[in-house]
Symmetry: C2
Subunit: 179 residues, 2 copies
Amino acid sequence: MPAEPPTGPSKASDSREAGEPEGPRPDFLAALPRITRLSAAVNRGRLVERAAEEAGLGRDRSAVGVLVTLRTADKPLRIGEIADRMQVVGPHITRQVQILEKRGLVRRIPDVHDARARLIEPTDTGTEAANRYLAFVLGWFNDALVDWPRQDRDDLVRLLTRFADDVATRLALLDEEGG
Amino acid sequence: MPAEPPTGPSKASDSREAGEPEGPRPDFLAALPRITRLSAAVNRGRLVERAAEEAGLGRDRSAVGVLVTLRTADKPLRIGEIADRMQVVGPHITRQVQILEKRGLVRRIPDVHDARARLIEPTDTGTEAANRYLAFVLGWFNDALVDWPRQDRDDLVRLLTRFADDVATRLALLDEEGG
DNA sequence: TATTGTTATACTCTATAACTATA
DNA sequence: TATAGTTATAGAGTATAACAATA
């Protein structure tokens, strides 16, 4: 006895196994596979790879992620904070930072307030590379939206940012509760 | 000489290394780290894990992804098409399908038009599990948006879906060109 | 005693190469 | 000869456990 499909595509009914109280929800079900695919294509496909090339960075996605995190932060970050922002565990960051350091893209500076910690910041070379990387990626996305009405573009970025923040907050709760 | 930051946060100027012709672009730069973090948190954090538990699925993210792909498709899929939809290579899918088959969640049926191919479809058990999984995930996201104005929710899903499609199309071009 | 980070190790996810069967 | 899939192998990405240094 197969269960009913959950809020199927082009089907506004609800079989609310998750206990949702009301109303036709937006069609997330149709969006979900697209978003999943998009995420996979961006991350594993040639966009990130190409951007890294343009930036003169090796094809070490993980390390590039750390570098971009540092570049988009407004101050040097501790290992633990990088890990938190990237949602990975500490030892992973330690290794990526070591790689970046060997390539001269980041450096460690002492944390005057805590001798256990080190602060990581991009070198000039690292900042330049991160800038080239970001310019490529952002430019590419911007091109993808070039034919969109201005209002839609603004709405997308605004809503997406808010969505990411709201969901991140709820996810943190879920992690505490289960942790 | 560090390069200028690319379209910095709260900074509408442009240093358009990617050759963009005009105008203040929406603030993707601020959105990017959030989205990256969100994606990592959803995929590696407890949401997917919990949803898989609720559904009675093992904690085999990759296989779950295949099952969901099959469940959200409207017909049995060939190995190659699953791989394409998930943006991974064939052999990976072969293995995940074998795992799912052993657990009785999917089955292979012959393709009458091509004896080389097999069509994969969920069993009743697999469909039920996928439904529970999706109900949990969709319900969770829905909860996250419960306080949003109706208009914003609808706009988000609409714009995000369109965005995913547009970007997927452009990414396919990028892959051909570089491939 | 708790916290920050590192080292060592292992597991999951995904890719590439070589092969089989059918078209 | 080209295509769909499988098997075998290797690599990237990330986690867990045990440890060191400082708080």
